[in-house]
Point group: C2
């Protein structure tokens, strides 16, 4: 087999990169659990017809076929009954899980879910075909109070804030409220709200002039209405003045509606809570539209400060109908972190690094192959006290064993005490191979300093 | 959407089952790291031609097709170039990872890998189409000393032993050595070693008489040779006497060879080390054949004591060629735990249970919606001290809030102190809803007993 090459869009990390990813995942999980979210995991596949219910993403789905079931793979895609596809997000599977298990869950049900998803999109920087998402959602049976729309982004602020200690840059969570946008557009007299949102969604990509043309051409807006929509999209701020500015704007354009007022009061409450509980993190940004049409209240996007080019690393919103079984409707609110996108940037920009690439704090040297069991016993004694350790691969010269530890990044090498002719055994010694310092040590009491115990993730020296 | 039903072969757990699985995975990960194994994760897909190199499993592979790429899914399966399939184990992807990254890894390279794999087999009890494996392997560049064949099953013995505290039954690791079997068969004069192994592999399923017939019919054995092979397969024991019994057997049949002696000396060393480091866990069982033809030394299978019907929950062995890039050959030794198989039995037989199904130890009650921020502040104070907590969904009557905690399995409910007309605030109170005991509490100092802090996994009351 020739040396294989990576598959574009399917990222993999070397062991030190995986340590970074694993630490990020551990911090997220811990934060989610501190906030009372239960972890679930769903299967990787869903029936194809469920995955295709949202038209937009249908092109991205990977369909599965068993190699020897040639028949069920109708090449024209017409025979979909029973076909399975890989999930492209964690929301569709979660909605199905809620319906399937509703009788066993207590609502409002809080869950986190950290799994890979797959999309057959063209790979780009920060956009992968296989990637890890970390989602939190709260879902109610029948109803779900607004305060969860305040809580959920604050949980993410807490989780992403906890990553700061690893060297992850600060984030800014941008919030908007569909009711504000829709209320304002309708107040202006625009009825094709979807079309307006689609246009506004392109603002960062194509600029205001092109969006104004789009709104006229596709959303039936007059140039004045288009200008008002762009004025709304330009509102941004992190305090209650945002609400006042939108109110003034609506007044000027005669666009005040009950829906707008409801949205503004929600947005105002969110900004107030955010200023108290996560100062400086949340910003109202009235141009945030989110493409997906099932959001019905708050919508969120998150940028890594200084890395805005990466796009949103944590997005979501409120949906009045996450799932429905006919009898009961399940509204929800949730956000999803693009873990692979985040970790890929952390690594490529050198923002963080692992202090070493192996778990082992100690390499126990082997004096002779016959005496390997003595080294094994020392290793077992250290492990029993929670110290990660491995035994040297061979009874090579000590210089070679030390170089092996050095190459693997293991900070300490343990040497067994010699036994003299009378059978008296000298104490063992442990050497810090970074400083060269070597001291007598007993495997039942010695421990490395806490900072050397396991690999840690620390701020790196950014490359650019 | 009607209520969906589970997909056969794709197991999912309710939140309390997931807590069990997550605890099992955490214990495995911690043990592997204590033994110096670095965690890696590989993509879920491999090029189809790589997956099909082992002929036997080809039928089980799930092939991927992008929904809008109808063209690349040649329905006759002939156009395989560039096609991707889901990996069916973690060994094939690991071998590819080693070749791809050899220049960045220090050998012998120790890695663990915990991921889902997929096989399109017919689902049965304990046999799934999607399941989690937890693998450890050591791989060398060029060579790999025998002592790793002793170490690796002992790491698994340690990991599976650590699960005992959760209520997992003890395990028995059955070991054999290909060199013993092959040396003996060749000494008998049988040259089609593969055919003999295939026959012996069926012993538990079809019994000795049928195997004897098979050996005669398919491995070219005489009835006397077949009987000798069955005699070897009947040897079992956990001490050095096993080696002596095989030696005697070989003597009697004139089947002693250098290869047999080499295998016996390896097996003897393994049993000796095992008796010292994991007494009672490892048993030599000379009928263990393992179907896969790439094993070249030790082979391992593991049964859960009292649940032998489940089949092996941890298998593996030594392979002289895990991978090769022409210039260098990478020998390895590894074992793989079938986590889903194990967890599915733990849950279905009631062997273990989670003490609750949510992370939250505390539900902070809400006195009035206007005062929700006071409850949020208490929750934040508790969380900052590592206590998992959630805030009540609504300012319902306290009885209802307590019932909500009870339904979710949250042991403590926190009540805010009332503020009287003069603005003086009474102390908060916390109630253990299991005992009904309610005491004054301060969010900056109170903590639940350690055993209530997070859900734990404890022995259950087995159902049968």
């Amino acid at each position: 087999m020739a040396r294989p090459t990576p598959l574009s869009g399917f990222p993999e990390w070397l062991p030190d990169g995986r340590i970074v990813e694993q630490h990020v995942l551990d911090v997220l999980r811990r934060t989610f659990e501190l906030h009372g979210f239960a972890g679930i995991e769903t299967r990787a596949v869903e029936p194809l017809d469920q995955l295709l219910r949202k038209g937009e993403t249908s092109k991205e789905v990977y369909v599965l076929r068993r190699l020897h079931d040639e028949a069920d793979a109708g090449a024209d895609g017409s025979d979909r009954a029973g076909q399975l596809g890989l999930h492209f997000d964690l929301t569709v599977p979660f909605a199905r899980y809620v319906l399937e298990n509703a009788g066993h869950l207590a609502f409002p049900f809080r869950r986190y879910q950290i799994q890979k998803v797959w999309r057959g999109e063209r790979p780009q920087d920060g956009r992968f075909r296989e990637f890890v998402q970390a989602d939190i959602d709260v879902v109610g049976a029948g109803d779900l109070p607004y305060h969860y729309e305040v809580e959920l982004p604050l949980v993410m602020a807490d989780a992403l804030g906890a990553l700061r200690a690893l060297g992850v840059p600060p984030v800014r969570i941008l919030v908007n409220n569909r009711k504000v946008a829709e209320g304002f557009y309708r107040g202006l007299g625009l009825s094709d709200v979807e079309a307006v949102l689609r246009g506004i969604d392109k603002l960062d990509k194509v600029g205001p002039d092109a969006v104004a043309e789009l709104l006229v051409a596709e959303a039936g807006a007059t140039p004045a209405q288009a200008a008002a929509c762009l004025e709304l999209a330009g509102v941004r701020g992190d305090d209650a003045s945002v609400v006042e500015r939108v109110r003034d704007l609506a007044d000027r354009h005669g666009a005040t509606t009950d829906l707008l007022e409801e949205g503004l009061s929600e947005l105002g409450a969110l900004l107030l809570a955010a200023a108290e509980r996560a100062p400086g993190v949340m910003v109202a940004d009235l141009k945030i539209a989110r493409g997906l049409d099932y959001y019905t209240g708050s919508v969120y996007e998150t940028v890594l400060v200084g890395h805005e080019d990466l796009g949103s690393i944590c997005s979501g919103g409120r949906y009045d109908t996450l799932a429905s079984d006919g009898a009961t409707t399940y509204p929800g609110v949730g956000l999803s972190i693009g873990v692979s996108r985040l970790v890929s940037r952390l690594l490529s920009a050198g923002l963080v690094r692992a202090t070493r690439s192996v778990p082992s704090a100690v390499l126990v040297a082997v004096t002779s192959e016959d005496g390997r069991s003595r080294s094994d016993a020392v290793a077992a004694a250290l492990r029993a006290r929670g110290i990660p350790v491995e035994v040297a691969p061979s009874a090579a010269k000590f210089g070679k064993q030390i170089r092996h530890a050095d190459r693997r990044g293991i900070p300490y090498v343990w040497f067994l005490g010699d036994t003299d002719a009378e059978g008296a055994t000298a104490p063992d010694q442990v050497k810090d191979i970074r400083s060269g310092e070597q001291v007598p040590a007993d495997a039942t009491t010695w421990a490395p300093p806490e900072q050397d115990l396991f690999p840690r993730v620390v701020p790196g020296e950014p490359t650019a």
